[in-house]
Every structure is written in structure tokens, then in C-alpha cells.
């Protein structure tokens, strides 16, 4: 369990994180979404005690991270895959980490196996591709067999096979009852991996819900309608304030719930062949939601 309460971080006049409160529960994968500069990394750095909050608290398993005697056994963290010395061999990187928290040396071999790096263990991290460094960073996070995992952009630089592997791994870890918290800007990836979502923009909480509820709630009322009396139905729906557009083999009606569309059709004796509520993809919902919260919006050319 990760608990963030009224967490605030101020740099001069800029509020990077603004009175943020949320909980990340065990047993599920929780996605942490937000545009660049929204404060995701700053929040994660405060949770693991690297940056000090201006006000507020962050705890892991009820404790301040900095008071954990052997933090790697409680919390595995992946911050930035580049954060290792390029001249050090992969196995040595894991070895010093194991030594620092009294983790038995056999775990080094185990996490190398788990991340598919055994054959590359004797190579220097500087020779690694970004994807391999991500795997090494994930191996380091798993070293202490922690109950809580915090991963900042773990699929960055991974190929399709690697992304599928991380997705499976995170789902398995959550199924074992661990707390899995990952940030990503790849929303399609998040949609397939996370059960819950925490969305922030400009350092503020925008949403903290289940993935499905999030998409349903923010999709708006949109239905695909097919009927042999399409033109007549379209006119009736438009008269009731719906935004009606032609769609492949039918109509797309926005602004009216499916039940009401069905009732209108029934009242006028119109046969329906299809009436399907449409859900937006996470990406669409997220884009709409964060539009107002984007700090660094690209200027249109």
C-alpha cells in the first residue's frame, strides 16, 4: 500500500505537485498517468525519499520510506534506466545493490534469469541497448522480492516482445498480492496493463478510479444506431438534441443515452438493427481530460 496525503512540492514559484492525495492498493496494477511535466516523477521521487516534500506526507506500507531499514526488501523502484554506471558489468550492478540491503547473492542470478539477462550478465551496462537497461533496472527493482513495486516508465525503449513480457510480469506480480504502481505516457499500454488509474495534471489529482469506470464515465454518451428507417430516426434524434452523424452502415448519435434512443424508436414504431453504446479508448479520454491541464502544449504549426 502506498499512501500519499496532501503532498506538495514547490520549486520557487512553481507548484510541481499540488496537494496530491491518493492510495495505491495491493493486488492490482495501478497506472499513473499525466502529461509531461505533470509531476509524476517528482511524486515518485518523494515517495521513495529522494526529494523532500514541501508539505504533506508519503508512506509505503504505513512507513516513511527513509525509515525502512532495508528498503529494497520492501519497495522495488525503477526510476530511470540510464541511472547506472556504463562501465560496470550488469552482474556487479546487482551485486552491490544486494550487498547494500543484505540480500542473498543467489537472488542476483534469479533476477538475471527472470529478466532474460543471464547471457549478458558479464557485459558492461554502457554496451546495453535502452531495452536491456530497462530489463536490468527491472531486475534491480525485483532483487529484494519486495511487496511494493514503483516503476517510472518501465516499457520505455522495450520492443513489442519486451512490452508483452513486462505486461505479463506486472500482472503476475499483482496477482501475487503485491502493490504495483507504474507511470507511463503510453496509454494503449496502460489500458492493457493497469486495473486502476491515477491521473494527474499540473500536479493535481484529476482522477483516481478503476480503468473501466474511468473510460465509461468520460466517454460521453455515444451510440452506434442501425435501422432500416435511418433518415427518419436520424431526424427524430436530432430534434431531441442529439448530434447525429453518418457512420459505416448506420448513424452515430452523441448526447443521448442508449435507453432514450431505444425509447424514441419504440414510440415511433421504428425497427432497430443495432444500438451500441460506444466507449472511447483510454487515449481519447485521457487527451480530452488533460487538454486543460497540459503544461507544455505544442504550438500548432
Amino acid at each position: 500500500m502506498i499512501e500519499v496525503t496532501d503532498l506538495t512540492k514547490r520549486y520557487g514559484n512553481t507548484l510541481a505537485v499540488d496537494a496530491l492525495s491518493f492510495r495505491v492498493r495491493p493486488g492490482s496494477v495501478t497506472g499513473f498517468l499525466g502529461p509531461n511535466g505533470a509531476g509524476k516523477s517528482t511524486t515518485i521521487r518523494m515517495i521513495v525519499g529522494l526529494d523532500a516534500p514541501t508539505t504533506g506526507t508519503a508512506t509505503v506500507g504505513g512507513r516513511d520510506y527513509r525509515t525502512l531499514p532495508e528498503p529494497l526488501r520492501a519497495v522495488g523502484t525503477l526510476l530511470d534506466a540510464g541511472a547506472m554506471h556504463g562501465g560496470r558489468r550488469a552482474r556487479d550492478h546487482l551485486r552491490w545493490l544486494a550487498h547494500s540491503n543484505g540480500i542473498p547473492a543467489r537472488r542476483v542470478g534469479e533476477v538475471l534469469d527472470l529478466t532474460g539477462l543471464t547471457a549478458a550478465a558479464g557485459r558492461r551496462a554502457g554496451e546495453f541497448s535502452l531495452g536491456m537497461r530497462q530489463r536490468l533496472g527491472i531486475a534491480a527493482a525485483l532483487l529484494g522480492d519486495p511487496a511494493v513495486l514503483i516503476l517510472d516508465e518501465p516499457v520505455n525503449g522495450l520492443d513489442t516482445e519486451g512490452i508483452r513480457w513486462v505486461r505479463g510480469l506486472l500482472r503476475d506480480l499483482a496477482a501475487e498480492g503485491r502493490t504495483v504502481f507504474l507511470s507511463s505516457h503510453l496509454m494503449s499500454e496502460m489500458e492493457q496493463t493497469a486495473d486502476r488509474l491515477i491521473v494527474i495534471g499540473r500536479g493535481r489529482l484529476l482522477a483516481d478510479t478503476g480503468m473501466r469506470e474511468f473510460i465509461e464515465r468520460h466517454s460521453g454518451e455515444r451510440c452506434r444506431v442501425r435501422s432500416p428507417e435511418q433518415v427518419r430516426l436520424g431526424g427524430l434524434l436530432a430534434a431531441r438534441g442529439a448530434d447525429v452523424r453518418p457512420d459505416t452502415g448506420g448513424l452515430r448519435a452523441g448526447g443521448l443515452p442508449a435507453a432514450e434512443i431505444g425509447a424514441i424508436a419504440a414510440a415511433h414504431g421504428i425497427v432497430l438493427h443495432e444500438l451500441t453504446p460506444l466507449l472511447s479508448s483510454l487515449e481519447e479520454v485521457y487527451t480530452r481530460m488533460t487538454e486543460t491541464a497540459v503544461e507544455y502544449r505544442g504550438r500548432a504549426a
Binding site: P71, H85, S100
Partner: protein, 243 residues
Amino acid sequence: MRKVLHAEWTKARTVRSTTLTPLVMALLTPALAVFVGLTGSLHPTDSVFAGSLTGSVPAQITAGIFGVLVVSGEYGTRMIDVTFAACPRRGRVLLAKALLAAAVTFVIGLASCAAAYGLGTLLLADRPQGEPMPALAGVALCFAAATLLGLALGALLRHSAGAITAVIGLMLVPSLFGPLFGDLQRWITGAAPPAPLQKLIGISDASAAATGSLGGWPSLALLLAYSLLALAAAVLVVRRRDA
């Protein structure tokens, strides 16, 4: 603390920058002893001991650079985040680094200066031997102090090139510009890290006019004192600052 020491020792052993620097440091003094021995390029009044240890000042600078690299390399790669996430008690991390790095340069300094003196004894004849004991131990402590100073600067500045420049400056600038300050020279040059080293080996460069009348050992105590003070400042700053 034992776990942090173990981790830091593994770290230092497994990267070239922190294994090669002590190696260079180990070779500098003996190599210069052979050069001085073969060419006889030393002051006529200098003893065998002083002549053999001509290379100890550049070696001391290398010891300072080693101290910088032990900590600044981690800031350069941001591995410091991984380190502080694994060991949130940052003061301990810095002290473990300091203890290990200072021990390394003390031991290597002692061994390489003893070796240099041995070589010098073989090559330099017809001059006073000098008094290597207990001065050699003091020389090795000068190396350890320079390492602590470098480590403190590396932690405070978080930047390898900047901190290395600062260490070299601290070592060399006082003796370069000291003469410009007239009577103040003995204070400026006398307080610089190489001063106790030069006084302990009794080299003629360390005249009272240039480096003051403070003896070798009190001068060493001064160097150790401000090196430890710098380390304490670094510990305070690193604990308070965002990583």
C-alpha cells in the same frame, strides 16, 4: 553500516575510473623516484628521502581526484538516485565512501612511498639518508586527507570536472600565487594540502619563508582538521538537499 561498506567496496572495485586512479597514484611516486635517481635532478642539500618522494605531491593530487570520482561519478550518471533509494541514510553512504577511499589512498600511499624510498636509496648516493620514519606514515595521512577533501568537494559540487578542477586548484594555486602576497605567502602556501607533505619529507621547497614555521606534524593536523570539516559539511548538505 557494514552492509553499506560492503556495497560501496563492490562499487569501487567494479568500475575502471575508481580502480585505475589509485593505480596511477601508486606508480607516480616510485616512477619519479627512479627519474630523480637516474638524472640526479634534486636540490644539492636534499636528503635521499626527500629526493625519492619528489613525486608525492602529484600523487597527493591524484589521491584527491580519486576522492572526487568515488562520489561525483554517481551524480554524473544519476546512479546516486539508485544508491540513496537503496540506502536512504545518506550520511552513512558518504561516510562509508570516505572511510574506504581514505583507507585505500593511505595504504597505497604508504606502500608506494616506501617503495619509492627503497628505489631512491639504491640510486642516490653521497647524500644524507633523511628520516623516513615516522614521516612515511604522515605522508600517507596527507594522501588520505586529500582524498577526504576531494570526496567532500565531489559531493558538494556533484560534478566531476568541476570538483576535479577545484581539487587541483586547491593543491596548486596557493604555491603558484603565494609569492605574490609577500609576507602572507607563508600562511597561504603553508595552509595548502601539499605543505605538510613537503615539510614531512624535508624537501628544500618547504622553506620557512615559503610555507611558514609550523612543523610537519602540526601542519598535518591542520590539513586533517579542515578535510574532516569539509566532509562534515558535505554530509550535512547531502542529507538536506534533494538527491
